[in-house]
């Protein structure tokens, strides 16, 4: 689905990404992890065509990012903790924005928007001002907007930013459900390696260079984590006895 070949990216004369090559298959959930400033957001923005590579290329389904985006098959959730509180739109307006270029009647758009709002558990907030919703509620509305056009590829930049623990757990459950039910390929930047470990298919360990690309289980080998974050970092992985996991009924496969 996504093929990255010898990608080099520079921003304002600084080398951000160095010789990245990887391939993400259709239907996979891939987590991009790494320290701050390691180029995770730049990688996503290059995949979306917002940043031009200095060398190398990105192909999505064999097409340049800009051409693939024109097909309307991408859903994107940017890294943003909150939008302008006084922006005069309702949650329903925001979700309907996702269909602005789709040639169907306004009534049909509204019906679809209500369906996805129900899917993310936000239907009762449809007429509330978007800016006044909590971080987690805004995030759910934004994901509803991202999936309303039935994308084949969903790109999420730190989806749990500004979301409390309860909302985080159910958010990840929701991503898993979306992938399983609709077969959507998901690429997400996250710092919650432990929380996403139970359901991601692959992990991209990025710190300017590609330090790791493979299964989550192998990623946990000490040498991989050390290489990516430095030797001082300890990973906290949830266990089956973990109170939070039991309380929220989170399935934990790997410890």
């Amino acid at each position: 689905m996504i093929k990255i070949e010898n990608l080099w990216v520079e921003l304002n004369g600084n080398l951000i990404l160095e010789d990245i090559s990887l391939e993400i298959k259709k239907g996979e959930i891939v987590a991009i992890v790494g320290p701050n400033g390691g180029g995770k957001t730049t990688l996503i923005r290059t995949i979306l065509g917002f940043v031009k590579p200095a060398k190398g290329r990105v192909l999505i389904d064999g097409k340049e990012p800009k051409d693939y985006i024109k097909s309307g098959k991408v859903g994107y959730l940017p890294q943003k903790s909150s939008y302008e509180r006084d922006f005069p739109v309702s949650a329903l307006d925001v979700v309907m924005f996702g269909l602005v270029e789709v040639k169907i009647s306004k009534k049909e758009k509204e019906k679809k928007a209500l369906e996805v709002l129900r899917y993310v558990g936000m239907e009762s907030f449809k007429d509330k001002p978007f800016g006044k919703l909590s971080g987690g509620q805004q995030q759910r509305v934004m994901i509803a907007r991202a999936i309303i056009s039935q994308p084949e590829l969903l790109i999420l930049d730190e989806p749990s930013t500004g979301v409390d623990v309860v909302a985080q757990e159910s958010f990840y459950e929701f991503i898993k459900k979306l992938n399983q039910e609709k077969g959507i390929t998901v690429l997400m930047i996250t710092h919650d390696i432990g929380a996403v470990g139970s359901f991601v298919h692959k992990v991209v360990g990025l710190n300017k260079k590609l330090h790791y690309f493979g299964d989550f289980k192998d990623f946990l080998q000490k040498s991989n984590v050390d290489k990516l974050y430095g030797s001082e970092v300890k990973l906290l992985i949830h266990s089956p006895e973990c109170f939070t996991c039991q309380y929220f009924n989170v399935e934990v496969k790997k410890h």
């Binding site: 994107y76 922006f87 005069p88």
Partner: protein, 270 residues
């Protein structure tokens, strides 16, 4: 003088019709100025037009044409510099405003005498609106309002988040530059008729007032149009009745309404 007598005086009828037309156009644009936080753009473009007007007067070309072209050019440059330099529009406006004003003053210094027409054009007079002016603003308003209202959701999506709109296949560059161009032309047309101070007030205050009362963008547009038309109408009638400058009277009424709305909201609603 009774209200019905107003409609027997041709220049007052022109002022009322022209003023109401400008009020409608600028109050719709005020929503975008409000959500994009572009309150400086109208002042920037009106001052930028000064450079174009001065060149027109100096070269003996119709200053409306040179002023409009200069304003559109500056409007597009504001967008281009902001996009390429990744800086807020207010900073680009500040730079281009100073440059255009300086250019206007230098060009004027080559002229032999003080050009009163230039200042009349810049500061405007609503009571001097002609039927030709009304036709011009009517045609421009009809075209630009049809465009803005037909693409309202697309433009609002761009204002909400340009990158997300781009991902949803919206031609974001086209709408960004179209919006700036419409604001630039509307500014030049309105400063000729109502002056730069009133023009700025008419593009900032409608949405600023109505957003205190409503939170949905369609309600803000409707309330802005209603408030604007009432204020302009009242302002012209009151200023003529009490022999006051019409532009200033309208700005004062607008500002008073804004402060009253804020005060009432603070005291009774929250």
């Amino acid at each position: 003088m009774s209200l019905s007598d107003f409609f027997t005086i041709p220049f007052l009828v022109n002022a009322l019709v022209g003023g109401v037309l400008i009020a409608i156009l600028l109050s719709v644009l005020s929503l975008f100025v409000f959500v994009k936080k572009w309150s400086f753009i109208n002042i920037g473009i009106s001052h930028a037009a000064f450079g174009g007007l001065a060149i027109g007067f100096f070269l003996g070309v119709n200053p409306t044409i040179t002023g409009s072209l200069f304003a559109i050019l500056v409007g597009v440059l504001i967008g281009y510099i902001s996009k390429k330099g990744q800086i807020h529009e207010d900073i680009s406006i500040g730079i281009l405003l100073s440059f255009s004003m300086a250019l206007g003053v230098v060009v004027m210094s080559f002229s032999n005498n003080y050009n009163s027409d230039l200042f009349a054009f810049l500061f405007g007079n609503i009571l001097t609106i002609t039927q030709q002016d009304i036709i011009m603003i009517l045609v421009f308003s009809a075209i630009s309002l049809s465009f803005l209202l037909y693409n309202l959701e697309r433009i609002m999506y761009c204002c909400f988040d340009e990158e997300l709109a781009y991902i949803s296949k919206v031609n974001t560059k086209f709408f960004y530059y179209s919006l700036i161009t419409v604001i630039a032309i509307a500014t030049v047309l309105s400063i000729k008729l109502v002056g730069s101070v009133l023009s700025s007030a008419m593009i900032i205050l409608p949405a600023a007032v109505s957003s205190q009362l409503f939170w949905k963008y369609k309600s803000i547009i409707l309330a802005s149009i209603f408030i604007s038309v009432v204020v302009v109408f009242t302002g012209i009638v009151v200023s003529f009745q009490y022999n006051l400058p019409s532009g200033s009277t309208i700005v004062i009424i607008y500002s008073l309404i804004f402060f009253i709305v804020i005060l009432v909201k603070r005291l009774f609603i929250r």
